[in-house]
């Protein structure tokens, strides 16, 4: 049975999505268990695939029984096995954690919500595992479409934000499709491994360079790299917190994975790093993204808006790490995909808990939150420390690899940008901790001798998951060395020095 895991990881949530929607109309109480079972089984098969790849190296799976250039092929190697586990784990944990919130926000639409949720997870898993360029576009569209719906259902101006997301997302996806069209025109095949073979033969022609630039612009738009990030802040901030819990940590990270897959495995490193001015420009772009992301975050007034701009800055980390081009910085950016997904999940779950219990996440609503919700705020502290980059947590280690990679390559603007971002993150998070810790002044006299307010903690499933994730952040930090040596370094193709 284990040879079918690549298919199982996608088919089980896909089938469950359709059954959940039917259950939504027939009998609502089966929706959540179905979704949990499906995503749980995906997590199990992802872990099984990762262990298989670590033991016996990459393996392929031919869909429909047809050999690669003709049929669609799944190539599972170290890189996408690792990202698969991250995606499956984040989707599963967020599903369990935000159960009470979904029941409170959409009492009569839980069927459709969980259907869209598992379709979204299926799309992401498919994007990560597929080895065919056009199939990747179709799966991108499923992820995007369900994402538009999940965001569009939010309050205040969520529909407008979602519509803007549609415009930018469609332009991005269509540019990617156009890039694949140029590649198909130049080589005649759609399979990624096959493309790499043929592209190396004709790497001189302008078609390949044009396809490269078009694919990059498309992917940058989908991952909201700084100049093209206009859609992300409103979309993620207005999204309902249950949906934001899966969209925020995963979409941009999976798009960075796609960028790494395209630049390193389709356009082989020899081609990608051949154009010096392009690399320098991209590193400057990434540093700009980091700096602008943190500066914009300073001027925000609500917790979620701050976290969203931090995501924009984190995208700059990964893109910069990729473009620096040595093994250390690329392993840093791959490690950051894993770490950043975990960190963003931790802080977004905490924000969801706060918004659920304190009715809103603006700075006024957060006053005295350490007293009312100690465990959620403790998780937010751990998540914040990880985003700042404090040693035991995982955020520090990906910064470590990125900075040492940048030092060896001599790109000092990236180092300065990373350090500046850490300092700004300290200000951002401690401003929130101050509000949660010191205020409210006017309401009571200073806290001397005042009985502790009733602890009004988030629901148990949420708190349990929050503590699990924050413990995971520290565990990821301590085991990052094993992850790098045994999974990430073998996943980087040979052509990189």
């Amino acid at each position: 049975m284990n040879s079918h895991f690549p298919a199982l990881i996608i088919v089980v949530p896909l089938l469950s999505a359709f059954v959940i929607v039917m259950a939504g109309w027939l009998n609502k109480k089966y929706c959540f268990p179905l979704a949990a079972a499906a995503l749980g089984s995906s997590l199990v098969s992802a872990v099984a695939m990762l262990s298989r790849v670590m033991d016996s190296g990459p393996f392929t799976y031919h869909l429909g029984g047809w050999a690669p250039p003709w049929g669609i092929e799944y190539r599972v190697d170290h890189l996408n096995a690792l990202v698969l586990v991250v995606v499956a784990a984040v989707a599963f944990i967020n599903l369990i954690a935000t159960r009470a919130i979904v029941r409170a926000d959409f009492p009569e639409k839980t069927g459709s919500f969980y259907g869209l949720y598992s379709l979204f997870a299926t799309g992401l898993l498919g994007v990560v595992v597929t080895g065919d360029a056009f199939n990747l576009f179709v799966l991108l569209e499923i992820t995007a479409l369900t994402g538009y719906a999940l965001i569009g259902i939010g309050k205040q101006h969520a529909p407008l934000a979602s519509l803007n997301y549609i415009f930018m997302g469609t332009i991005g996806a269509s540019f990617y499709l156009l890039g694949v069209g140029y590649l198909y025109l130049a080589t005649g095949t759609l399979n990624m491994a096959d493309l790499a073979l043929h592209l190396s033969k004709i790497s001189g022609s302008t078609v390949v360079l044009a396809a490269f630039l078009i694919c990059l612009t498309g992917l940058y738009m989908k991952m909201a790299l700084f100049p093209l990030h206009a859609w992300l802040p409103n979309a993620y901030a207005c999204a309902p917190s249950a949906a934001a819990g899966i969209i925020a940590p995963l979409t941009t990270k999976v798009m960075v994975y796609v960028l790494i897959r395209i630049t390193l495995f389709v356009f082989t490193p020899a081609f990608t790093y051949a154009h010096l001015p392009l690399n320098q420009a991209m590193i400057w772009l990434a540093s700009l993204a980091i700096v602008m992301g943190s500066i914009l975050a300073l001027s925000q007034k609500s917790l979620k808006k701050i976290l969203v701009y931090i995501i924009v800055a984190e995208v700059g980390y990964m893109v910069g790490g990729l473009w620096i081009g040595n093994r250390i910085s690329i392993s840093g950016s791959i490690l950051h995909i894993v770490n950043d997904a975990a960190m963003t999940l931790c802080v977004f779950l905490a924000a969801a808990g706060l918004q659920f219990k304190l009715k809103g996440d603006s700075f006024i609503a957060l006053r005295g939150s350490f007293r009312k919700m100690p465990y959620t705020m403790a998780a937010l502290v751990v998540g914040g420390l990880s985003i700042i980059g404090v040693p035991p947590t995982c955020g520090f280690f990906s910064k470590w690899y990125l900075i040492s990679g940048a030092l060896t390559a001599g790109t000092y603007q990236f180092v300065v940008a990373l350090l500046l971002n850490s300092l700004v993150n300290v200000v951002l998070f401690f401003r929130i901790f101050e509000i949660g810790y010191f205020e409210p002044f006017p309401g009571q006299d200073s806290h001397r001798g005042q009985k502790a307010q009733a602890i009004n903690e988030a629901p148990l499933s949420m708190v349990a998951m929050l503590l699990l994730v924050s413990a995971g952040l520290i565990a990821l930090g301590l085991f990052s060395s094993d992850m790098v040596t045994r999974i990430i370094l073998p996943s980087i193709p040979a052509g990189i020095l």
Partner: protein, 276 residues
């Protein structure tokens, strides 16, 4: 904003034109696209799947996985619109309009009063008053069955002529939408309520993914129809052709149901009471 937009567009156009320098001429038979992978499909589609229409062969078999996700996209769009727009608690309308069929006289009842349902010669009409349209109604009533028949033909004949699941499904959906346009949304919903349309669309997609999973259970790779040979009692090649047909039916069902569901939801802006 305008100037920035134009600059971006011109820049993008220049990038694209720069890319086309090394393109092969239009229709040049020696271009890489038509000399590498596609000749295999053309030569082997009959021996592999015994389906003369190569596009259907590729669509449902060689790249059947893409099409499965394509149907999932259609399904996702249907569910997304229902999820976004549906309004549960509908407040009852202030005034109701009725028409006396024999004489064509319309009656308006205020303050939410209503007439008994079954009255034979009084029919309820939309608040956006539609002129008496006997010609359209009878015309549509005559045409719709033939459209549906043609849709079934397109689905079934996908192997031999241009057509297949999507096109057939859309035509079938169009027939039902025509019915909803000719009469009004309420009567169309009596024949195909939104609940059945969603259930039909999920069964359609389940048929597609189910056959794939069935092949998995029978030991072959996912969506490898030759594994159905044992089940269908035919040799593997015709098993593939039958597999394609089953899958096309699933797709048609899903597409039809989603088109109808989309029309119901979008035309009545989620209230599902009065459409176009």
């Amino acid at each position: 904003m305008k100037t920035f937009g134009i600059i971006a567009v011109v820049l993008c156009g220049a990038l694209l034109i720069y890319g086309t320098v090394d393109f092969p001429e239009w229709g040049d038979p020696a271009s890489p696209a038509s000399t590498y992978v596609s000749p295999y499909y053309i030569e082997h589609s009959i021996p592999d799947t015994s389906v003369p229409n190569i596009v259907t062969a590729i669509l449902a078999d060689y790249r059947g996985y893409d099409t499965m996700f394509e149907t999932a996209v259609v399904f996702a769009a249907g569910i997304a619109c229902i999820f976004l727009l549906r309004i549960e608690k509908r407040d009852s309308p202030r005034s109701r309009l009725y028409r006396h069929i024999p004489t064509g006289v319309t009656i308006r009842i205020e303050q939410g009063g209503r007439l008994p349902e079954g009255s034979r010669d009084l029919e309820r009409i939309d608040s956006v008053w539609v002129p008496y349209d006997l010609i359209i109604k009878t015309g549509c009533r005559l045409v719709i069955p033939f459209i549906q028949l043609f849709a079934l033909y397109v689905i079934a004949h996908g192997h031999h002529s241009p057509g297949g699941g999507f096109q057939g499904g859309v035509i079938f959906g169009a027939a039902i939408i025509l019915y909803a346009l000719a009469y009004d949304l309420r009567t169309a919903q009596t024949h195909l309520p939104i609940r059945t349309s969603v259930l039909l669309s999920s069964t359609g997609v389940l048929i597609y993914a189910g056959t794939g999973a069935l092949c998995l259970l029978l030991g072959a790779n996912f969506l490898n129809y030759s594994a159905l040979a044992g089940l269908l009692g035919v040799d593997p090649v015709t098993a593939r052709s039958h597999g394609i047909l089953i899958v096309e039916i699933g797709v048609a069902l899903a597409v039809m149901a989603v088109m109808v569901g989309l029309y119901y939801i979008i035309s009545s802006a989620g209230r599902l009471d009065e459409g176009l």
